[in-house]
């Protein structure tokens, strides 16, 4: 069997349903073998978007997304997408073509050292230089992507490997990948700390979304009568309509969530790496707090916040162990009641009835109108923070965003990937006009492959988040943030064969959304929003969360 056929067969054996790829010179043998394969092939218009689509697909299906790019420029274009997946621990298998092993290192046409390029932004990567290693490597890649902490794996595949014969016995080789060691030796200490805590709080991180441990954590929180605070990556993994779920914390988080985080005495952090966007000034974070840190990746424990008690294991297992271990539970009605009371004060809906449309109003209407199994993706910037702060994620709703790397242009292709993974759900991308223009060519992919997603464009004519910082911290010296000559987005979408509506009045927002949900083609809703509206409240960078900028937020700040 030829190497190319082996690749196709190995992908099929891994139950790969869909490939997001762009062919090229060195990939011709592979693409020839893909003719007639039962795997669906989707052709993005840029490799970066192929990786984002595979990423969106992976986050919904919890299985590795597969993206393919050619050598040289194909591989370098893929880099941003792979790095995005790496920072958010999303399982990808990224395959790049490479020039033949004979000319490798000779600066051949379309040669780039993609093995080295991908090394720091993948969980692991391979360069196959011997045909007999091909089957083993392919199997190993899928295993590594989904063993322990998930992550992208890259395979660099020289052209001659695709053309050479693969022996049958090599195809049959079985592969094992060591599972990360669990370390629950701190369990008793953790249980003791939690039992004795006066004001316990649970910080739910992205690991919980991957481990799908939301229901167990909710159960644990009820046992402990502890509020739950989520990071951006964990939004949606615990239901936000639960009285103990306070929402997203951090720089643009909900103030009640930050209050709980800063005033608890024992913090149970699960599947989070304490990003600087969560903690603010690291030195002041939780000075009074005892931390129990649960993570599947032992290298995360104590990396940013020195954990007093570390538990290594996946969220689901550890949480169940904690539930089993907790016996003597103190009644902490005071803390719980106080938090629930504070949460009520912090639950404003921002149904702002004024023109020009306020972005909060659009997100509010999405919270109201979208069905309970809707998937929302976001771009990066103001649109993302409005979405994280104001969108209500509960039930089977999912929230997908580029949290770690903060890649503008992530949301639209990720929405396409998500829709491919779960075609029965409504998928909406909350976009900004800056982000969307980085990936607008993907309307072609969406229309061609019949992937009807809704793009809710918050069109304010600015690179809004940078503008907001120039306004707040650089004395309004705006530079390079005005998107003066933007295209007519309605015409742009229509040019690709998508549908589009421009919405300029607050009273039309909900009708437009309903229109979008009915459409069976990709639909752009161009909400012309108020360019002066900032994302507030906000904790300025490098400050602790007691020094927040209030904006419209009426919360009394815990009344200290």
């Amino acid at each position: 069997m030829k190497g190319a056929k082996a690749v196709v067969e190995l992908l099929e054996k891994q139950k790969t349903e869909v490939l997001f790829g762009i062919p090229g010179g060195v990939l011709l043998p592979l693409y020839d073998e893909l003719v007639g394969s039962k795997m669906r092939h989707i052709l993005p218009r840029h490799e970066q978007c192929g990786a984002h689509m595979a990423d969106g697909y992976a986050r919904v299906s919890k299985r590795p997304g597969v993206c393919i790019a050619t050598s040289g420029p194909g591989a370098t274009n893929l880099v941003t997408g792979v790095a995005t997946a790496f920072m958010d621990s999303s399982p990808l298998v990224a395959i790049t073509g490479q020039v033949a092993t004979g000319v490798l290192g000779n600066d051949a046409f379309q040669e780039a050292d993609s093995f080295s390029l991908m090394m720091p932004i993948t969980k692991h990567n391979f360069r196959i230089t011997e045909t007999r290693a091909l089957p083993e490597t392919m199997k190993r890649a899928f295993l590594i992507a989904t063993t322990g902490r998930y992550g992208p794996v890259h395979i660099d595949l020289p052209m001659d490997i695709l053309q050479q014969e693969v022996a049958d016995e090599d195809m049959k080789k079985k592969v094992r990948v060591p599972k990360p060691r669990r370390n629950l030796s701190g369990l008793l200490d953790a249980v003791k700390l939690l039992e004795e805590a006066e004001r316990p709080t649970i910080l739910v991180g992205g690991g919980v979304a991957w481990s799908r441990a939301g229901p167990e954590i909710t159960q644990l929180a009820e046992l402990l009568t502890a509020p739950m605070v989520t990071t951006l990556m964990a939004k949606g993994s615990v239901p936000e309509d639960h009285p103990l779920v306070l929402g997203v914390c951090g720089m643009h988080g909900r103030q009640v969530a930050n209050y709980a985080l800063n005033n608890c005495d024992v913090l149970l952090a699960i599947g989070t790496r304490f990003s600087d966007r969560v903690t603010g000034k690291l030195s002041e974070f939780g000075v009074q707090t005892k931390v129990v840190h649960v993570d599947i990746d032992s290298s995360e424990i104590g990396k940013n916040v020195k954990g007093r008690v570390g538990l290594v294991g996946d969220a689901w297992t550890v949480v169940n162990a904690l539930i089993a271990g907790l016996k003597e539970r103190k009644k902490r009605a005071n803390w719980k009641d106080r938090i629930i009371e504070l949460k009520k004060e912090c639950t404003c809906d921002y149904d702002l009835k004024s023109d020009p449309i306020k972005p909060q109003k659009v997100v509010h209407e999405m919270s109201v109108c979208l069905p309970d199994d809707a998937i929302v993706t976001t771009e990066v910037g103001q649109n993302q923070m409005w979405a994280s702060h104001f969108y209500r994620c509960y039930g089977k709703r999912m929230f997908i965003t580029s949290g770690g790397l903060g890649t503008m242009g992530f949301g639209f292709p990720a929405a396409l990937g998500a829709k491919v993974a779960r075609p029965e759900s409504i998928v909406a991308d909350i976009a900004g006009d800056g982000s969307l223009q980085m990936v607008s060519q993907e309307f072609a992919t969406a229309v061609e492959n019949d992937i009807p997603v809704i793009i809710c464009l918050m069109n304010n004519g600015w690179l809004g988040m940078v503008k907001q910082w120039q306004k707040l911290f650089y004395d309004k010296r705006y530079n390079a943030t005005n998107l003066g000559k933007s295209p007519d987005f309605v015409k742009l979408a229509e040019a690709y064969g998508a549908e589009a509506i421009r919405v300029e009045r607050h009273s039309e927002v909900s009708d437009a959304l309903k229109e979008g949900m009915k459409a069976d083609v990709p639909m752009l809703l161009d909400f012309v929003v108020d360019p002066e509206e900032d994302v507030l409240p906000m904790t300025p960078p490098g400050k602790s969360s007691s020094e927040w900028i209030r904006g419209r937020c009426r919360w009394k700040g815990g009344g200290e």
Partner: protein, 120 residues
């Protein structure tokens, strides 16, 4: 001085991946010794550096690498010393802990000696 010892697979790219973990964290290492080890298709990498906290911070990340089979800090008490001395009695080879070797050399006052400390 802190010493990190790793057992890794013997293939291209391993050094780059291992050293990237140090580069990323702005850790300057003093010495790198690497070579194939007694087991076929395995290499041993021995790295020394001065900063204890840096070494402790990087070791879990090294263990997380797919190509690293083991990574450990070398216990100072385990440092083996080896010395060759020349005195009236002829050539003498001394092995043992660093302290033992040094004490013996001091006591026997040889004419010449070559010492190899921290040989692992």
């Amino acid at each position: 001085m802190e010493v990190i010892m790793m057992l890794t697979y013997d293939q291209p790219g391993v050094m780059q991946r291992v050293m990237a973990e140090f580069t990323k964290r702005k850790i300057n290492v003093d010495t790198i010794v690497v070579g194939p080890c007694e087991t076929p298709e395995r290499s041993r990498i021995v790295i020394s550096l001065r900063d204890y906290d840096a070494a402790m911070g990087v070791i879990e990340h090294l263990r997380a690498l797919q190509e690293v089979i083991e990574a450990d800090m070398v216990d100072h008490r385990r440092h083996e010393g080896y010395a060759i001395t020349l005195s009236k009695g002829g050539v003498c080879r001394i092995t043992g802990s660093v302290e033992e070797v040094e004490a013996l050399i001091k006591r026997s006052e040889p004419d010449k000696y070559i010492e190899v400390v921290n040989a692992i």
